[in-house]
């Protein structure tokens, strides 16, 4: 009979190294990021330490168990429902005072606990001194200092972990308890008396937690037998004030606990990273830095990736070698034409699906993720948000929204997922609209750029139109959805760090792997769907339907094919456009119109499916309709404009 592996949860705010610890323990590669919002769900892994097998659970960034954000609710549910055998709080050494507020709450749960004070390398650089042995005595739990990035403290942590698990050591006595103001005390006493059963948690702790538990959460907890409240229990009217006062209390407590044990110099030294940071956020030099970075992206992703690398893989490897070879084999050994078609026909799984994925999309997307991970690891993204906030608030968005929007340039699906980090629904909705409508993904960008760059002004025109649509729709939405709320922008700017190669590579690989796993099946499915539709004639019917509106904007019948493909996979459409141009069926203005319409047209199938999952069918339908209408209107406008000079 084997016992289940002990559960160990890693809890703490964003950017402290939880995910790095997770990776060190489990030899896995969850994506570690420098800005909040990357671990958006629990990650579970197995750690094999000596003869012990442990289950490690990484949580999203948590500031308090009095959960306000979705991520914190996930962490709290973990504590309540799974009651881990050991809780490791990972804290930032430089900001230990505010980290201890969470410690107070975790100690209240009574679960076995270890405090890991990480980022000691930065603390030492700043001249901060921490007496962890004394702190450990005061808190009644093991306290370990570490610098995981330098691999320091890891072995001590393992020893402490195994020790606590072996002896099932619960937290000892703390030197002093938090002193709540009368307001909170009164609530706690009153509420505790209404809690019927409390399981392994103290009634006072549960009263505190109830402040931020919705009725649904309470009912669920009760159903699972965790605790029971009297039916007369109601959340107090001054709930928010109570929560604020509680947090103030924990902070005052942490200052008392740390007296004499934590010492920080009067003011932080100004070193090179400070100066560089200044350079990046000053309006003039900061814009220069941004432009430089964008240029860097263009060079690596556009020129190297979409240009040379794709050329190498697509033309020389696939088109000249692999595909003819496979075509040969398939034509010889597979008797059925329909099957041959499915595999190597014009929309075949191999000729379209796999070729485009491996030879055209992957190189570009991989390089984009590489560049993105590089600036992310260095800590540039919050500074970019800081710089652009005033601009982007004109279209009703928070500076934080630049992050999903930038990611959308790599893959729109990923951008939609990251909108989870935006606070208000309104911001999420506006950002999603912009992503689906006017942010081309790198796959699409690659092909359109290489296509239009021959046409001289074509590329600029395309860019201007997309930009106008982006700003215009953003502005309209912000007015339409406005509730007269004042814009708020509040963001931590973590210190600039030198990007670490291992970290950048692991992030890039994790993202590329995600892309391949999530998106490649869609490619294959898309090939199959198109093939099937072609077989039963549905493809033709659909295209016939689209011809009239397309002719109204000066485009040939073949364009309908491109748009249908473009929906299934954005880059298919762009690729189709490429093919069409090569066969010289289009004149230059038509190419531009089609490029614009294609870019603005529906989000690709993968993105749409994520959208439905994240925000529901109604919003997704609105996005689909809006993009269809806006893309056609933009095409119409351009057509009328060009008609002044050209005969279509």
């Amino acid at each position: 009979m084997s016992l289940p592996a002990p559960k160990i949860s890693l809890i703490g705010p964003p950017n402290v190294g939880k995910s790095m610890l997770f990776n060190l323990l489990c030899q896995q590669h969850s994506v570690v990021s420098n800005y909040p919002g990357t671990t958006v769900e629990l990650s579970r892994g197995r750690a094999y330490l000596g003869q012990n097998t442990l289950e490690i659970i990484d949580t999203p960034g948590t500031y308090s168990l009095n959960a306000v954000t979705e991520e914190e609710k996930i962490t709290r549910r973990l504590i309540f429902e799974e009651q881990p055998d050991l809780v490791i709080q990972v804290a930032d050494a430089c900001n230990l005072p505010r980290m201890l507020a969470l410690t107070a709450e975790l100690l209240e749960t009574g679960l076995p606990f270890i405090l890991l004070i990480n980022l000691m390398d930065e603390a030492e650089k700043a001249g901060i001194v921490i007496k962890e042995k004394q702190l450990s005595r005061r808190l009644g739990v093991p306290v370990i200092t570490s610098s995981l990035v330098q691999k320091r403290g890891f072995n001590e942590l393992i020893k402490a972990m195994l020790g606590v698990l072996r002896e099932q050591k619960k937290p000892g006595k703390i030197i002093c308890k938090p002193e709540y103001p009368n307001l909170v005390e009164r609530y706690l006493e009153e509420s505790a008396s209404r809690i019927k059963e409390s399981g392994s948690f103290s009634r006072r702790f549960l009263s505190l937690m109830c402040l931020t538990m919705g009725s649904l959460e309470r009912k669920q907890a009760q159903r699972k037998g965790l605790f029971r409240v009297a039916s007369t229990w109601k959340p107090p009217a001054n709930k928010e004030k109570l929560i604020q006062e509680t947090r103030n209390t924990f902070f005052r407590w942490s200052q008392r606990v740390l007296k004499g044990v934590f010492w920080a110099p009067a003011s932080p030294k100004t070193d090179f990273s400070e100066k560089l940071s200044e350079f990046m956020i000053h309006p003039w030099t900061g814009t220069l830095v941004l432009v430089l970075i964008l240029w860097g992206f263009y060079q690596v992703v556009g020129v190297l990736g979409a240009g040379h690398l794709v050329d190498l893989l697509e033309a020389k490897l696939f088109s000249d070698l692999v595909i003819p070879f496979l075509e040969n084999i398939i034509h010889r050994h597979i008797p059925f034409t329909w099957l041959q078609n499915l595999m190597v026909g014009p929309y075949g799984i191999i000729t379209l699906g796999i070729r485009y994925t491996l030879a055209i999309i992957m190189p570009v997307v991989f390089l984009f993720f590489l560049m993105f991970s590089l600036i992310e690891d260095g800590g540039y993204l919050p500074r970019m948000a800081y710089l652009l906030n005033s601009l982007i608030s004109k279209i009703g968005l928070n500076g934080k929204a630049v992050i999903p929007l930038t990611l959308g340039l790599g893959c729109g699906t990923l951008g939609v997922l990251v909108t989870r980090t935006l606070e208000t629904r309104r911001e999420k909705v506006i950002t999603i609209f912009l992503l689906s409508l006017s942010i081309p993904c790198s796959a699409q960008l690659a092909i359109i750029m290489s296509l239009l760059s021959d046409t001289g002004t074509g590329l600029w025109l395309w860019f201007m139109v997309i930009l106008i649509v982006f700003l215009g729709t953003g502005y309209l939405f912000s007015i339409f959805f406005s509730r007269g709320e004042a814009p708020v922008f509040c963001m931590e700017i973590p210190p600039l760090r030198m990007p670490r190669l291992s970290s950048v590579l692991s992030k890039t690989l994790a993202r590329a792997r995600w892309y391949l796993i999530e998106v490649l099946p869609m490619f294959i499915m898309a090939s199959v769907v198109i093939w099937a539709m072609e077989l039963i004639g549905a493809l033709d019917a659909l295209m016939q339907l689209m011809v009239p509106p397309l002719e109204a904007i000066g485009l040939p019948r073949e364009a309908s094919m491109i748009l249908v493909l473009g929906f299934l996979r954005r880059d298919y459409g762009a690729a189709g456009l490429f093919e069409l141009t090569r066969t010289s069926l289009l004149i230059e203005p038509q190419v531009i119109i089609l490029a614009v319409v294609l870019t603005l047209f529906l989000p690709c199938l993968a993105q749409l499916m994520v959208l439905i999952r994240e925000q529901g069918g109604a919003l997704s339908l609105a996005v689909v309709l809006a993009s269809a209408i806006i893309s056609w209107s933009a095409g119409l406008l351009l057509y009328n404009l060009f008609s002044l000079w050209v005969n279509f």
Binding site: P97, R98, G399, P487, M491, E492, I493
Partner: protein, 88 residues
């Protein structure tokens, strides 16, 4: 001036880069925002150092650098500290 100057209350938005102040009160702001600010260390009683005021406000509280916009800064009441104060 005969009035006692050292309890003068200002708004955070009125401070100039380089000023140090103690946070006295946080006025009416959405709950989740105050929660976020507290999580980053912005509490009543804490000392804050203003680094920049454009394009947005950049403040340092403890060892944390935080960017906030004008709207938020205008809702935080502070009392200016003489320049020689220690940052806590």
């Amino acid at each position: 001036m005969s009035r006692n100057q050292h309890k003068k209350k200002d708004k955070l938005s009125q401070l100039k880069p380089g000023d140090k102040a103690r946070i006295e009160r946080i006025e009416k702001l959405p709950f989740f925002l105050v929660y976020r600010m507290q999580s980053l260390g912005i509490f009543e009683g804490r000392e804050v150092y203003l680094k920049r005021n454009h394009p947005e406000f950049l403040i340092r509280v403890g060892y944390t650098m935080i960017a906030i916009n004008y709207h938020i800064a205008s809702k935080v009441t502070v009392s200016k500290l003489p320049p020689s104060s220690i940052i806590g």
